[in-house]
């Protein structure tokens, strides 16, 4: 034999039905406690905004005719989608000046922040005039058939 000390009692336990019942309850309750969250977790949730890191349907092409723009929620982030001559463009709708939500002004064909009249170029998101220090962050937008998707990044 090596250095292990074998236990000659062989782990004989006292015979108690009560012990068995208790042990059974213990095992079952612990199993339930552990398995419930795991199973709950594995069931995919029914979310409103769509999956993370995937495409989010924001509307139909008919909703945004050429020369128009619309603010839509993508997940929890407001995004402005504009139908420009160079195709569908999308940007974060949070103005880089003081965080107001921008809108689209089809009259002047510019993305405008209503708070302090900051203006952004709808094709590039760059600042055209006003107090914003930098342009709007572009988002990836794709058109499939008649549906518009924004890739939530």
């Amino acid at each position: 034999m090596g250095a292990t000390a074998t236990d000659p009692t062989g782990g004989r336990l006292p015979r108690r039905r009560f012990l068995a019942a208790l042990a059974g309850f213990s095992i079952v309750s612990m199993a339930a406690l552990v398995v419930t969250p795991i199973v709950g977790f594995l069931v995919p949730p029914r979310t409103s905004g769509g999956a993370a890191g995937g495409k989010v349907l924001v509307g139909k092409v008919a909703d945004i005719p050429p020369g128009e723009g619309k603010v839509v929620p993508v997940g929890s982030k407001p995004t402005i989608v504009v139908n420009t001559a160079q195709g569908m463009k999308a940007y974060s709708a949070i103005c880089t000046h003081l965080g107001c939500i921008v809108t689209y002004d089809s009259g002047s064909a510019a993305i405008v922040c209503p708070c302090h009249d900051g203006r952004f170029n709808p094709t590039t998101g760059a600042v055209e005039s006003g107090p914003p220090p930098t342009g709007l962050t572009p988002e990836e937008v794709t058109v499939e058939g008649d549906e518009i998707f924004v890739v939530s990044a």
Binding site: A3, A5, T6, D7, G10, G54
Partner: protein, 366 residues
């Protein structure tokens, strides 16, 4: 090992008449496992063993991490474009997602805490001495692997804190002499922290280290089984003989106590996860460095040290420290195990703890 001998000393598990016997026989006739199980379970351990649970707790926490980590991996997306949102999604929208993530977060922290406690317990009880030198060396390897776990996992949420702490951490790794530049590029998968880094860290965190840790823990446990648990009172005799002193059965006595400790840990994890859920800062922005970047608490000591000594000293000191830990059983020639008979070791140990704790607290408050 009494392989093939009639199962006389191997009693049915639990000895209950409630149907355990026939099932047990069914498996035994096919697998002949009673002998093996007997050899594994029916050993004896020192009777007084309160601090012995730390190692088992670390193992339990590793198990918790494997389970919660696997669950998280079913929703996590390891690209910079999607990582943050996937973590936000599983924390907010998936049922119990907050629980799984928070348990994983706290499990990681507690695993390191108990691993260190286990190391300290083994050190102060001189259980690394003959014949357990190899077990200690393997254990230091496990410590390294666990730190790699912590470092790689920290990046995965891809928020500002994660990103910049990784930038700083890999910069420090790049300061290692001679191999530093190569090491930095290997770690980052390039010159900067990018999606290549995230892929790399994800693969390491989810595949490489779990497998490595699992296998090396198995080796560690085999060693422990072979040698039994050391007595804190009396050093193991040379040549080896069966240790004397009060002992108790591993199964079911010690194991029962171990499981009780595990249940306490589970309760602590649930409380921590509910009251202090894992947070998420804003998404990583490589163009915007936040004001104060600090690594996670288990690296704070080294981080603080680097602020006060020349860079090369700050990088080599921890490496030397780990090296000393590794070869500790071979440089500590004193055969004594009781504290009074090994004052130098005790003093150095306390000093080491004081320095590490002090540096960590300093790093936290500064």
């Amino acid at each position: 090992m009494t392989a093939g001998a009639p199962p006389t000393d191997a009693t049915p598990m639990g000895g209950q008449p409630s149907g355990g016997q026939p099932a047990d026989d069914w498996f035994e006739r096919r697998l002949h496992w009673r002998g093996l199980m007997g050899a594994l379970l029916h050993v004896r351990v020192p009777a007084e063993s309160k601090t012995f649970f730390f190692g088992g707790i670390t193992l339990f926490l590793f198990g918790v991490q494997v389970v919660t980590g696997t669950l998280l991996a079913l929703y996590y997306k390891p690209t910079p474009a999607a990582a943050y949102d996937s973590v936000l999604f599983l924390t907010s929208d998936v049922s119990f997602g907050w629980l799984i993530r928070s348990v994983h977060h706290w499990g990681a922290n507690l695993m390191i805490v108990f691993l260190v406690l286990h190391l300290l317990r083994v050190f102060f009880q001189a259980a690394y001495k003959f014949p357990r030198e190899l077990t200690w060396v393997v254990g230091v390897g496990l410590l390294g692997l666990t730190m790699v776990f912590g470092f790689t996992g920290y990046l995965l949420p891809w928020d500002q804190r994660a990103y910049w702490a990784t930038v700083v951490g890999t910069e420090i790794a790049g300061g290692v002499p001679i191999i530093g530049d190569t090491l930095l590029v290997l770690l980052r998968g390039g010159a900067d922290v990018t999606e290549a880094t995230l892929s790399r860290f994800f693969g390491i965190h989810v595949l490489v280290v779990p497998l490595a840790l699992g296998m090396i823990v198995a080796v560690h446990l085999v060693f422990v089984h072979q040698q039994g648990l050391a007595s804190p009172q009396v050093p193991d005799p040379r040549p080896p003989a069966v240790p004397t002193g009060r002992t108790k059965p591993f199964f079911p006595d010690y194991l029962l106590e171990e499981v009780i400790a595990w249940l306490f840990l589970l309760a602590i994890l649930v409380v921590l996860a509910s009251i202090f859920p894992a947070g998420l800062e804003e998404e990583a922005n490589p163009l915007e460095t936040p004001a104060h970047i600090k690594p996670e608490w288990y690296f704070l000591g080294v981080y603080e040290l680097l602020k006060h000594v020349p860079r090369i000293v700050g990088i080599l000191a921890p490496m030397v420290f780990v090296l000393l830990l590794l070869v500790l059983p071979f440089i500590d020639r004193n055969p004594e195990v009781r504290p009074r008979r090994r004052p130098l070791a005790i003093v150095l140990g306390i000093l080491g703890i004081a320095v590490m704790v002090g540096l960590t607290i300093w790093g936290y408050v500064s």
